[in-house]
Chain length 430, copies 2
């Protein structure tokens, strides 16, 4: 294949995703002329420490100087797989301004500066693709921007963090407690030494912001997303959930309700019959409702070197085709409106509450009174046998109610003398 | 919006899918300038009997003359939703030759003449898109041709016929027999008066041929697909399947094995843990394995006016964007090789057999002898209590074996005097 049929790619970063991308590009090289009419060739790989990669990569490919890439006009595509905001943000911005096309797997960056970067891409007639930033290898960005574009989407709901889904699966299936399941996830490499971003829902929140922006054609950033993690979920709550016909999952939920957007990540009880309840281990799945397509779900690996690399390479191949047809920038930012984001207090949900109550006459009536005066209706109540300390464990599930009204009633309830402990509050999705 | 920002669309057919497309295009009209930079306007609708639609469609839109469409150069997009081979084939061919872009939901046509039509599209720099031809509203064609293009796909396996999945779900969940479940499907409009194409697997076979072509970059037509329907599945087999930890589904399976392509549609026992086993009612799901992405699954509505219309409109919107960027024909036929199709006799599978045997010593030994001499190994055997007529019901599951060897052994077994009846043979997927 002649030189002009080669497109030079620079990789920024050679960690988990970067090495997956590199491996796939080598492996697919022989099929590329037939698949996309050209060869994507890794010309430069930017790393901090060249020596570390000397045995894996050709010496003339490795560089620790960004200028070797940004100033090289023969490099037409840049893959950013460093993660984090800086220097990724500055590099991508500079690359686009020089007319280089960019593929990124960086959810932190896209959830914060995505709209600005897409605007810079548009001005420079460049592609900026980020399929890998949400749900790893699972196709979701392109399906939403193209296949489902004829829909008004009302809900996007997903298991978009594999670490927490692995932990919750182990708790649900094997009766592990949270600490034990987290330890296992860390031992297997599913969770990092500092698991905060995963278990507190920040990672899921970033992916949700990106999906909500596309679904509702409105800029949504990570700051707009309410996040609540799984560290307070107990094995006991999971057993109650099963008894009630639910599974507990960390869901990212974005909904269009009464002209406003709800975006929230929190542990959620979903009915066993819901397709998302069957998603096990570290798999991701995104469930979507459109006015025409009805329900649709995408399932796959949300992380990992090759799965995430698969999404990056899919984007690169698409750009290569666009370049040959001179139509880069064909699909950019799809936000053409500004729907208001609802504050969490105005969102509506059903709630599961587990409490320890004094076991005497009038306790439940008093509770019911507080709920009633805040317009909280009870759909289900389970009272378990008395415990040693003369308290009874009670589980209540409410009907849908505004978060504010529910929380107001809980503020009162938690101060009542017969309420010894509010052990858990978990939102329920019907 | 000025006249030049309108793109004229002709609809061929106004049945279930056609009316869905029409409804979505009306509903999305206000969003189209923001979504795709132009308005897709239905200029003509070709129907057989204009009077039938007079109250639903403007008089100047309705026509019963193909020449009103093919000879009108202002019509740039044609949507074929008539179904069947002719006149759909001739119309699409003529439209492409005149430089009109085409969207079709016609699986029969694409599974038979798809490659030829895509070649004509290429010659004329036209788009010919058919997302709606497989799994209705569920995105699958575009994800395979774009998002997953960096993979070598080794398996595509799907529940791609909603009618049969509905019937099997009712048999599995409510213990209905086949006739009863088929009757219910017909009463609810899921099955046609003549259900042959669905229940015999022809419809699934067409969709599988289309998917296999894309997955393996090789022309695969409906004639290449082995098909076996569900009409012989009994409620008893379903009960045994559950006992063994399986669900019975009509699967379309396309695999790349030892450099050859297997393409087959047949009832299949799949493990309860497999994501496809949880797909209920008339939903469709396609499960795919790629060397990089690992497992991925797409789930949604495989039929219906609006879901299928959603896929057609997604394609139309994509073409509208391509037209404005002057890059139509950007993604056409993706078959660049010719991998051999394996004859069914060479495919490998595990088999479930249910038989009535004479209940006397030596029967099982004789069976085992025949299997053994054909290299069929038994992985599981269940013998149920003797029945009234001095026979015993036996269920056997084999290990993976070539179809030919298995069938050879069954030919011998079925003629043995102690074998009163071979009640069922169902393939098992591990």
């Amino acid at each position: 294949m002649s030189e002009e049929k080669k497109k030079k790619v620079a990789l920024l970063g050679m960690g988990t995703v970067g090495s997956g991308v590199y491996e796939i590009l080598q492996k697919q090289r022989k099929n590329m002329p037939a698949k996309i009419g050209c060869i994507l060739e890794v010309a430069k790989v930017l790393v901090r420490n060249k020596a570390k990669y000397a045995d894996r990569l050709p010496a003339d490919t490795l560089t620790d100087q960004w200028t070797d890439i940004i100033d090289d006009d023969s490099i037409e595509l840049v893959v950013e797989v460093m993660g984090g905001i800086e220097p990724a943000y500055s590099y991508i911005k500079a690359a686009l301004q020089k007319g280089k096309h960019v593929v990124t797997a960086n959810k932190d960056l896209m959830a914060t500066h995505g709209h600005e970067l897409l605007e810079i891409a548009r001005e420079n007639h460049c592609d900026l693709l980020f399929e890998a930033a949400v749900a790893g290898g699972t196709p979701i960005i392109r399906p939403m921007k193209q296949c489902l574009l004829g829909n008004d989407i009302s809900e996007v709901m997903g298991i978009i963090n594999g670490t927490t889904n692995f932990i919750l699966s182990k708790m649900s299936e094997e009766g592990m407690d949270y600490a034990e399941a987290l330890k296992l996830a860390q031992d297997l490499g599913y969770a990092e030494a500092d698991p905060t971003a995963d278990v507190e829902g920040y990672d899921a929140g970033r992916k949700l912001a990106i999906m909500a922006s596309i679904a509702f054609h409105t800029p949504v950033t990570f700051d707009d997303v309410y996040t609540e993690g799984i560290s307070k979920i107990t094995e006991k709550d999971i057993r109650y959930a099963h008894e009630l016909g639910y599974e507990i999952k960390l869901l990212g939920i974005a909904r269009l309700v009464d002209g406003g957007i709800e975006v929230r990540v929190h542990p959620t009880m979903i009915p066993m019959e819901h397709p998302l309840s069957a998603i096990k281990d570290s798999f991701n799945a995104i469930f979507l409702h459109g006015d025409s397509v009805d329900d649709v779900m995408f399932y796959g690996r949300g992380a990992g070197s090759l799965p995430t690399g698969s999404a990056v390479v899919g984007d690169l191949m698409d750009i290569a085709r666009n370049m040959q047809y001179n139509c880069t920038g064909r699909i950019g930012c799809s936000c053409y409106q500004n729907v208001a984001i609802k504050p969490m207090s105005e969102t509506k949900s059903s709630y599961y509450i587990r409490m320890k109550l004094e076991d005497r006459a009038g306790t439940l009536a008093a509770l019911a009174g507080v709920f009633g005066s805040n317009h909280v209706s009870i759909s289900m109540l389970i009272q378990k046998a008395k415990e040693d300390d003369q308290t009874a464990e009670v589980v209540i599930v409410t009907y849908d109610v505004a978060e504010k009204q529910f929380m107001d009633s809980m503020t009162v309830i938690s101060t009542m003398s017969m309420v010894h402990k509010v052990s858990s509050i978990i939102r329920v999705h019907h």
